[in-house]
């Protein structure tokens, strides 16, 4: 690995019941994706405090994913709806502070969607490589 090529750091908060299970299924199915992502397991996407996402960017993450169960599929009834509300807020907040909001993604990934997990990570890594390291955007 040369220091020259930019390798983005991506944090993915995954809910235990759907998205973390989806990430596990990606493994079981041997769907390959770039190793740039670090999964942080939470019980529900509703657990993700917007300040966690902001903190991740503060500490140098180039991209953050919050992944939860599909609408109406939340293990905790409505935690994912709360995650969605917070995501809206985060998107506008990031724009406000000069971070390209496409560095943050809310994704619905079911336990059966290993392929979707892998492709989400792949796409995110590619997009952020184009965007460059955090702070390189001019908004």
């Amino acid at each position: 690995m040369t220091e020259m090529q930019f390798e983005p750091k991506i944090i993915a908060f995954c809910c235990n019941w759907c998205s973390y299970a989806g990430a596990d299924l990606a493994g079981v199915s041997r769907f390959q994706y770039p190793p740039n992502v670090r999964i942080i397991r939470v019980m529900c996407s509703g657990r993700v405090d917007p300040s966690f996402v902001i903190e991740a960017f503060k500490q140098g993450a180039d991209g953050v994913i919050v992944a939860g169960c599909h609408p109406n599929d939340c293990h905790y009834i409505s935690g994912n709806q709360k995650a969605a509300t917070r995501a809206e807020f985060l998107t506008s907040f990031l724009e406000e502070v000069g971070i390209d909001p496409s560095r943050f993604k809310l994704e619905w990934i079911a336990g059966s969607e290993g392929e979707k997990f892998a492709s989400t990570v792949k796409r995110m890594v590619e997009e952020i490589k184009v965007l460059g390291p955090l702070g390189s955007e001019v908004l």
């Binding site: 690995m1 190793p35 657990r47 993450a61």
Partner: protein, 673 residues
């Protein structure tokens, strides 16, 4: 959360790291020795080993030995997904005297070696980083103990159809107090309306009535008919239920069901049990086999309630059972478990649909047909068509009405319509051997035991014609009121127009309107199709996201009678398991309030999907109070607290931030350490 005495919160972290090869599953990609070596450099780590198979007896023994010899107070196992082996390793460390919540798992297999198979170096770097994240997180672990709640040995069953009846019988027979609540005047549900059942041709009421009687006689079952659940509070093992018993205006204890009152009643109204074809009086039982066989006054139509004058039923009743002044009664119950068996309703064709159900008298639904071919129905089982009361000779069935139709958002297959159409065709042919019957279908789904055989029988022995195609247009002859169906017969690749005397719409099943209020009271998740969602589609088919609440029958999704009965027995078994144990273990994932920081704003209480948080006065100040047994551990409250005063055990802000910091501090993001 107090620590159990033998596992006091340790002062300083003494960490053991165990990196599993999982044969070649991890070891074939990740250099496990190197990962263990990198981890050994991290402050606080006193043991760092790679193991061939950590989950094997040998591997587990190695971990236990290290705990004892080195006095480990944190164990990090880097192996497969915690979703697979978390309990294995928790039990393992507990065996060595360490509180199980000091064990933390790092996922090196599903989320590292298996997804970076062609990049061993990067995978090794990432693995080392993942282990570091785990170590940093585990520093903040605390000793926890699962909480036990007692389970009341009683069950509430909502819905008195075949599923609810069967569940009540099973639980009552096991010796548990059972309350069977039914909103209609009689139990029995939709099954009581059916004529015969597929594929065997058993008479529905003949097999149902004995069960209805049996459940009424069961000493442990208390039947609350003509009653509705109005409130449910509490949690697994300890639900408080409020039931509203509607006034029958007939005293149940005095009514003997003789029916003299109904003979004298001057008011005739369409009988909803007969889908409006027959009539009943304003004082009535819905059908002769009703259980309980107690009369009910329909307040809306009763002349006494309308004019205050009529007293004919009161005069007729020798037992003085009629009481027009009866008030609704509220009953409060304590139960440990709940089974929701609120069933289905049939789909009602839309007013502007192509099938003209609302315009053409001779277009009827399948449930209406059931009453018209039923010996106990309004015509005594003699099939006549509504427009002129003449026996129809040419009959068409149209399948998938309200099912598998994206236009009305019912994508699902209702699972019973193919078979009931065949069954009803057979019954009609038995009564009128000269009849001509055609079934317009999309696909025939004859998947159950004996179903395919019935499909063959109706085609070969009864000459039922199967036409593949969805009708596009129905028109009515203004004189005869016969119906012409225009359809593309896809197997012939032809558009045909055929005339019939009667058209039966094979309407699908939709959730019963009675389900929604119960679903809201219990906060039960709903599937895409609108039916109640089970915990897991394969492995937890009768459990729900709410502990202690089970579902069965058509409340969970369209199904036939055998499946409803099987599921009812499963739900009864699952509820009984809880009640037999008498206690339930709750994982310590619940929210925890730091009262010094809490300002009592109540945002957490609003966010909680389980109503587990209340704002209470404590020493003159408002504070959030969590009912641990109600808390499911999602952490939504913790994420929303502006004061960071509420935290989730095992997933505290600080634990997650430690993980985050360790992830982002790595030298090389793609590789890691």
């Amino acid at each position: 959360m107090e620590a159990s005495p033998e596992t006091k919160q340790p002062e300083k972290e003494v960490i053991g790291v165990f990196v599993c090869h999982c044969g070649t599953n991890i070891g074939g990609v990740v250099n496990c020795e190197k990962v263990a070596e990198i981890a050994s450099q991290i402050p606080g780590v006193v043991v760092s080993k790679d193991l061939k198979y950590a989950c094997s007896d040998l591997g587990q023994e190695e971990i236990r030995k290290a705990i004892k010899e080195k006095g480990l107070n944190r164990v990090v196992v880097a192996s497969c997904s915690p979703r697979l082996h978390e309990y294995t390793f928790k039990n393992c460390v507990e065996g060595a005297g360490l509180n199980p919540y000091f064990m933390h798992m790092v996922n090196l297999r599903e989320q590292c070696s298996w997804v970076h198979m062609k990049e061993p170096e990067l995978a090794t770097g990432k693995a080392a980083n993942l282990v570091k994240m785990g170590i940093e997180r585990s520093r903040l672990s605390t000793a926890l103990s699962p909480r036990e709640v007692t389970v009341e040995p009683s069950c509430l069953i909502i819905g008195g159809g075949i599923a609810g009846i069967q569940a009540a019988l099973d639980i009552g027979d096991k010796g548990f107090k059972t309350y069977l609540v039914e909103k209609e005047p009689s139990i029995g549900g939709h099954m009581a309306q059916l004529d015969k059942t597929f594929p065997t041709g058993d008479c529905a009421i003949c097999i149902l009535a004995p069960k209805m009687v049996e459940v009424a006689r069961n000493k442990n079952v208390e039947m609350l008919s003509y009653s509705e659940v109005v409130d449910i509070q509490g949690y697994v093992g300890n639900f408080t239920v409020k039931i509203r018993k509607k006034p029958r205006y007939v005293m149940e204890e005095k009514c003997v069901g003789c029916g003299v009152c109904a003979e004298k009643c001057p008011v005739k109204v369409p009988n909803e049990f007969d889908m409006g074809f027959g009539s009943r009086k304003a004082i009535y039982v819905p059908f002769p086999q009703a259980v309980p066989l107690k009369y009910t006054i329909d307040r809306e139509n009763c002349l006494h309630f309308k004019t205050g004058k009529c007293q004919l039923c009161v005069k007729a009743c020798v037992n003085e059972a009629i009481d027009h002044k009866q008030e609704p009664e509220e009953i409060e119950l304590k139960v440990g478990t709940v089974i929701v068996a609120t069933g289905f309703d049939v789909y009602t064709p839309t007013r502007k649909g192509v099938y003209r159900y609302w315009e053409y008298k001779n277009v009827i639904t399948a449930l209406e047909l059931e009453r018209l071919i039923n010996a106990a129905g309004p015509t005594g089982g003699h099939l006549v068509r509504p427009s002129d009361g003449v026996e129809p000779q040419r009959i068409a069935f149209i399948q998938c009405v309200g099912s598998r139709n994206l236009k009305i958002a019912n994508k699902y297959c209702s699972r019973v319509c193919c078979m009931y159409a065949m069954k009803n065709s057979q019954i009609i042919m038995e009564h009128s051997p000269d009849a001509e019957i055609a079934i317009y279908y999309n696909d025939i789904r004859a998947f159950g035991k004996g179903f395919e055989e019935l499909y063959h029988r109706v085609r070969e022995d009864y000459g039922i014609e199967f036409i593949r195609g969805r009708p596009a247009k129905l028109t009515k002859d203004p004189v005869t009121e016969n119906i012409t169906i225009r359809a593309e017969e896809t197997l012939l690749a032809k558009i045909t127009e055929r005339e019939f005397d009667l058209v039966v719409l094979s309407v699908g099943l939709i959730p019963n309107p009675g389900t929604a209020p119960v679903q809201k009271m219990l906060s039960l998740p709903v599937s895409d199709d609108g039916f109640l969602a089970e915990s897991h589609p394969k492995l937890r088919p009768v459990e729900t996201a709410i502990e202690g609440v089970f579902i069965c029958g058509c409340a969970q999704g369209p199904k036939d009678i055998p499946d409803s009965v099987a599921q009812a027995k499963a739900a009864a078994s699952a509820a009984s398991t809880l009640m037999i144990k008498g206690k339930h273990i709750v994982e310590p994932l619940y929210a925890n309030v730091n009262e010094e920081l809490c300002v009592g704003c109540g945002l957490c209480a609003e966010l909680c999907p389980y109503h587990a948080i209340e704002i209470a006065e404590k020493d003159g100040q408002s504070k959030a109070v969590v009912t641990e047994a109600l808390c499911h551990g999602c952490g939504t409250c913790a994420a929303g607290c502006p004061q960071h005063a509420i935290n989730q055990l095992q997933f505290t802000d600080q634990q997650l931030m430690n993980e985050l910091t360790a992830a982002l501090a790595a030298k090389n993001s793609a590789g890691g350490e």
